[in-house]
Each structure stands twice: as structure tokens, then as C-alpha cells.
Symmetry: D2
Subunit: 134 residues, 4 copies
């Protein structure tokens, strides 16, 4: 699991005084990128090898609101692997309170956006970091 | 069902050359607002009466990509009502091809963000516009 | 001059209840794109010929605030041409009140992002639509 | 001068493969907030006292492009004070190369958005941190 801290800016909020619901998906992307970096699989390196992780599914439960200047934590982990896709799970917390819980699914594709099986090294690395969904 | 046309801007895209996955949620909000206006329930009027429709759940399936300058259509309809919440469903299309299919769920809350039952007029109006999920 | 109408969404606002200052630059981009289309110089066609109009300078005066659900108008016109760049000017209005006044400057570049002189047809078309700064 | 490090996400980029020009204004806001915190004038505390720093002017020179996964630095300093406004200056750098240079101007206003003179403590604190524009 990777834990990334993000400071909420005015730019992230809307007129209800809380983070706009669509902006959490940017936080998930940031968490996912740092999780990949942490396990030694930098996304820029994946792209250099000609592969991509687009998003085919995203689901988000909004439990409580993040507010301006809050210091939130995005916890990202890998909770599913198939031969050609991964599922990531996220918890956004503020001072140990869960604000948001989410899942995204990513096929592994080549430059033509065709799904491809993971190369052996990437598959082994991912499997080593598979965690249980709570 | 409301049908809203949106032109994709550079601002909506990312370096993969397609619309960033998180930006669709803004399109859903725009669709939802226009659907409410179309059935005679402008969101600004709802807020003036002291009520809000925050988001507690969002789910999105990404089927194909919208690209820069595409003229997309966001089709929004009401596919669920309870005593104190609604579920909206969305199809994003480009030239009749479905790009994205999504659902959002919204409790009806008062100024203190407490869930409240719909006033009779709002409930009746919503029920009149309930449609089947395809 | 092109006149583009935009409906302000929750996504555009911040917790002060007005449009976030950085979001106007997206509105200017939308205006610029529609102005180019209107004069017969679609940006996608420019890119197909291997040219781009990146931004090297932007300036914005904020006079009054756009609010949620406002129907704003972005007026875009060409107010400057050199051998290899253009300057666009914008007025954002709501019900004839000027909210924002801005300028952006764009070099004409090739695929290597090197500034290049305008091809004759593009230069002539641009010159025909040069307008005075108010 | 405050120095804030930001990692560029996919969300920040556009289809040209660089940071979208409008997104830098969010980076400036983040830099400004951290500069205020650093000098002991947290923006949330200013708001609690009933004051705000809206933006009335922004200017930005784009020199080179930030790219996905770049670790950029936003350097923020105060370069101007009047009786009721401040001017902030920004340099965005990547590995000591200047990418962007910008200025924003902020009136000091009360809850009715009327410009007001700085309270003595805030004025003294700001004056102590005034720096020269390079």
C-alpha cells in the first residue's frame, strides 16, 4: 500500500465548500502513480516499453467531504490481477476518518490500445504486491 | 431523457490524446443540471429552497475514448427514486457510438447536509420522469 | 469576433461561490477554437498540416465574478499578427456586464515546436479578420 | 520566498503532452497558500477573521513546458504591497530551468468583497516579507 498526502486547494473545491466529486479521480491517479513508483514500476518506464494502463472502470463511494486546506491521505493498493488487467483500491482519509472509498480497473494495452498479457517481469512484480480488499 | 451536446477542448484531454477519465464526471454534472432544468426543477431553485443533491456514489464504464474537438452527447435520465434519493444514468455518445456509461446516486439533503424526504411537489415531478435503465 | 455561450457548472466554481480564476483560461481556449472555426481555420486542420498554436503569454483582468448557472458569453477576436504569431483578446460577459478581459499570445510552430512563418493562405485569412483592441 | 514541489500528473497534461496552460494558475495558488503559511499568515486564519484575497489580475509568461511526471518547483514571493493589496510573483522551475514566470495581484477584501486596508498586524507581517522582483 502506498500512502500519499495531498493538500486541498481552492482549485479542488466547489461552491458547496467541499472537494468537487470529480476531482477525487485525479487524487486516485496521483496515488496510483506513487504506488507504481514505490513497487519499482514507474509509469513513465512502462510507457517507454510501449505499454499503457488506461481506465476501463471506476467506482467511488463518497462518505464524508474533504475541505479547503485539509491534508488528506490517499491510500492505494492493488486488489486484483488478471492475465491482462489490474484493479486498484483507494481510501481517502483525513485525520483517520475515511472520506472516500474507490476502485479503478485498468487493462494493460500496447500502443494500438489492444489488451496484451503482462510481460513476465511485470506480472511477477505485480503479484508480489497484491493485497486483500478490506 | 435530456440530451446535451459538449465540444471537447484541449483542457479536457490528457497526453494520451483522449479525454481524461476524471473529466467525464463534469460532463455528467452538466447533463444532470440540464435534465433538472428540462423537467422544470432548476438546481438553483432547489438550492434557494434550502436543499441540495450531493453525490454519494458514482460508477463509470469507459468503452471508447472521446478526442479533441469531438462533439459528444451526454444523455441523462432518472433511473431510480427512493424517499430521499435519486439515481441518474448517463450515456456519453459520439456519432451514435457509446463511449461511456455511468451512474450517480444523490441523497436529498438540507442545509445541515442531513438527508430529508422529498417535498410532495418535487417527489411527484421526479416520479413523472422516472425511466427504465436500458 | 466570435461569441460563445457557456453555462457555468459546479465544477467551474470554488468555495468562494464564484468561478475559480484559473478556469477562465479554459473558457478562452474554447472561445479561440470557435473563433478559428468561424473564420474557416479549424484547429484540427492546422494540426493536420503539422502546425500548432501553443501559448507563450496570457494576461487576465478580473472585474466581476461569474457564478454557478450563469450563462456567460466569451467574445474572442484577433487583435495582433506578426510574421509568426497572433494575439487574441477576450471579453467574458454576463448579461452585458463585463466580468473578465484577457489577452493571449500564440507563436505559430511546427512539430518540433520551432516558430515558423505563416503559410500564405493562413496569413491572408488571419489578416482579413484582424480587429482593433477596444 | 516559498519553494513548493509538485509532481505533474496525467490530469495536468493535455494532448500536446505538456501541462495545459490554464493549470499553472492552480500551481500558483498552491505556492501562494504555502508562502502565506510559511510567513505565519495561514489563509484559513485570514478567512476566519472575515477577510479574503481574491484575484484581480494574473499574468503568465510560458517559456518552456512541464511534462508528465516532472517534479517542478513553484517559487512564490511577495513583490508588491499597497494599503489594500498585494502582488505575488512566481517562477516555475524544473531542474533549475525556468518554465514559467508569473504575477498575480490580490486586493484585500471583507465579506462583502469591499476592498479594505490591512489590519496593522497583517500589514507589518507582509512588509517584513516583501522581496524584490528579479
Amino acid at each position: 500500500m502506498n500512502s500519499l498526502t495531498i493538500r486541498i486547494a481552492y482549485a479542488d473545491t466547489d461552491q458547496m465548500g467541499v472537494v468537487y466529486y470529480g476531482n477525487y479521480f485525479t487524487f486516485f491517479e496521483r496515488g496510483r502513480t506513487e504506488w507504481l513508483r514505490e513497487i519499482g514500476l514507474e509509469y513513465t518506464k512502462i510507457e517507454e516499453r510501449g505499454f499503457y494502463f488506461p481506465v476501463i472502470y471506476a467506482e467511488c463511494k463518497y462518505i464524508a467531504s474533504a475541505k479547503y486546506d485539509d491534508l488528506i491521505t490517499v491510500e492505494t493498493k492493488l486488489t486484483g490481477i488478471t492475465a491482462a488487467s489490474i484493479t486498484c483500491s483507494y481510501k481517502v482519509k483525513c485525520a483517520d476518518k475515511i472520506l472516500v472509498s474507490a476502485t479503478t480497473k485498468h487493462p494493460f494495452v500496447n500502443k494500438d490500445l489492444k489488451p496484451v498479457r503482462f510481460p513476465k517481469d511485470i506480472r511477477e512484480l505485480l503479484e508480489k504486491h497484491l493485497e486483500k480488499e478490506e
